[in-house]
């Protein structure tokens, strides 16, 4: 099985709140050269209750805004469980591995999703597998 690229660490050693990871996503993407404003939704399903919590990350013109609610429009939506997102955000699980293991869904603008998760948030340069190009 191929090994796919991990994300840079979005977690902090002493803070285990999920919100921290989405603020970090916003900070990184605000510095990235995205072609146009982007709105990301992270639907995080609680492993025990099964209820989703949604964080929205809006990025535009070098700034980002994170809110814990579903906003009107999402260019990209990631749907996964709390445990899986924590592993991804901690740099222990590749988003592509999570996808092919049935632990994560992605929908919306798939080119933007690839740019965000395989380039901008990646821990380093990676070769994108043929099936994800």
């Amino acid at each position: 099985m191929d090994e796919y690229v991990m994300l840079q660490r979005l977690t902090e050693p002493r803070r285990s709140e999920l919100a921290t990871t989405f603020h970090r996503v916003g900070e990184i993407l605000a510095k990235a050269a995205l072609r146009k404003p982007a709105q990301l939704h992270f639907s995080i399903v609680d492993n025990e209750s099964g209820e989703p919590l949604v964080w929205s990350v809006a990025v535009a013109k070098g700034t980002s805004k994170v809110v814990q609610k579903r906003t009107e429009r999402a260019d990209v939506e990631i749907i996964t469980t709390r445990d899986t997102w924590w592993q991804i955000a901690d740099g222990r699980l590749s988003p592509l591995d999570a996808f092919v293991k049935g632990l994560l869904r992605v929908r919306g603008d798939l080119n933007l999703a690839k740019r965000v998760f395989l380039v901008e948030l990646a821990a380093g340069p990676c070769e994108i597998p043929s099936w994800a190009r």
Binding site: F99, V100, G102, R107, G108, D109, L110, W131
Partner: protein
């Protein structure tokens, strides 16, 4: 379980993987996994691939059942035009 409906936008098939993309809105795609590696029985795939190919060619509406946080297809329904 979750249900996603739309039209088949793309099929990507190889020895070790099979993916489809479903267009659920004009600017909204979602990729789903038929198989990846050798983790699934080939039986259902042999039935699904021709059906999905027809849906792709004819622009038919398809409904896909999958896990809430999983892109693996559990079952498909293809609607008549």
């Amino acid at each position: 379980m979750a249900l996603s409906e739309g039209t088949v936008s793309c099929m990507l098939l190889a020895d070790d993987f099979g993916f489809i993309s479903i267009r659920t809105a004009p600017d909204r795609l979602e990729p789903f996994i038929l198989w990846y590696g050798s983790t699934r029985s080939p039986g259902p795939m042999a039935l699904w691939i021709p059906e999905l190919s027809i849906a792709l060619a004819r622009g038919l509406n398809v409904a896909i059942v999958h896990g809430d946080a999983s892109a693996y297809i559990d079952s498909i329904r293809i609607d008549a035009p």
